[in-house]
Symmetry: C2
Subunit: 243 residues, 2 copies
């Protein structure tokens, strides 16, 4: 008696996730029609699918529920998921990249492309006046260009696994900073918390991040938005001057 208990605590165990929660997730996205991998956090999957890029960072990614970086149906499914369980969500085109628009398919004279120094090849992407199009066909001096998004009209299948819910404040801060500058490794970021004041010791590579000011500003914006009760952040960059 007199003890408070929130409804979601009743029964303990599988508390559903809610807005503002920090989750580390792994996922692979395929198109339903042909099972082609279009996005993945797995280096192995990316290599298998031929979409691997050395500039990309693979491995579990931070997602803040309610932030809108994930498509709505995926977010909703995650809220009801358990840690480690694989969730499969089908997202129809209407909730993904929209339906295909037949008006966005146009015929253009081949010589007009050549005049712009564009040599079209079937199934490759060309860029015209800043707009990207896929070359669908080339016949009799005419080129069929499709300006629809490559994923328009496709149903996407998300396979998502929540690796972990982050509760620790210092871990949240490291993840937030890392996501704005992936070259700043989580393990090289030092965090000290004293009451409502936070000190972040940045790795020495911080000065190699050209747009560091913008990165810190985005980080501060996120801290204000998703982490309560922080009144001051002090950033420290210690740089040894080797001869």
């Amino acid at each position: 008696m007199g003890e408070e208990q929130s409804p979601s605590d009743v029964g303990g165990g599988n508390v559903p996730f809610s807005e503002g929660d920090f989750l580390l997730i792994e996922y692979t996205v395929t198109t339903k029609e042909d099972g082609k991998v279009v996005d993945t956090t797995s280096e192995e999957e990316a290599k298998k699918a031929g979409i691997y890029s050395p500039d990309e960072e693979y491995g579990a990614k931070l997602v803040i529920l309610g932030e809108g970086t994930l498509l709505k149906p995926v977010e909703e499914a995650l809220k009801r998921a358990d840690v480690s369980q694989e969730v499969v969500v089908e997202v129809p085109p209407e909730q993904a990249f929209g339906p295909r628009d037949p008006n966005k398919v146009r015929v253009v004279p081949l010589r007009e492309l050549l005049r712009r120094n564009i040599t079209p090849r079937i199934n490759e992407v060309v860029e015209i006046d800043g707009q990207k199009a896929i070359v669908r066909a080339i016949t009799g001096g005419r080129v069929l260009l499709d300006f629809n998004h490559p994923l328009a009209g496709k149903t996407l299948v998300f396979r998502v696994r929540i690796v972990k819910k982050i509760e620790d404040l210092s871990e949240k801060l490291k993840e937030l900073l890392h996501r704005w500058a992936t070259s700043l490794k989580r393990e090289d970021i030092g965090v000290k918390i004293e009451g409502s004041k936070v000190t972040i010791e940045l790795p020495r590579t911080a000065v190699n991040v050209d747009n560091l000011g913008a990165v810190l500003r985005l980080f501060i914006r996120d801290v204000k938005k998703y982490i309560k009760d922080v009144t001051e952040i002090t950033f420290i960059e210690k740089v040894p001057l080797a001869e």
Copy 2:
């Protein structure tokens, strides 16, 4: 006997300046032929000459002798100057923006400019394929374009005054940082020196400097080059999170 005295100390007083010295200078540059002001550190002069820009920072500027930001003859004159004395230096085109090259004056059909959405006006600057030209004449559908630098062939007159030689290490550090990010006001930069270790407390506006990483790197490069015996620099940015 046994005491050392460097030659430049003999007589005391007016020791000439030398490479690596930090000087704050004010200057106004005019063309010799018509006395037009082409550059100045004086807000008043800039306004009088009609070249004032609100984005420009007026007032004394840092110059490090030997760095090469000033034209050679001006640097040489400064080395022999006294503080507060106005030095006047004439620099012939050969040592400034080069002689005029008659081959850089070309006639172009008016319709070609119009086709590129350029409407030429006499004495105004147009840009063609990334190159700037002054429109000298428009007659009978033909336009005379001068691709020479506007100061090519001109003798420049520099009136320079050394406001101060900076000797204090912490003042040198503030000037160096300020010159790479003029929005960081000297008086808002905190400097602490402990032995060979330097701590720089940046103003809170530092996170508004998008390219902060690049700024810090340029600063570090200059410290290594022009200030000896610094083994470590620690930057601190303290940001209060107002609600």
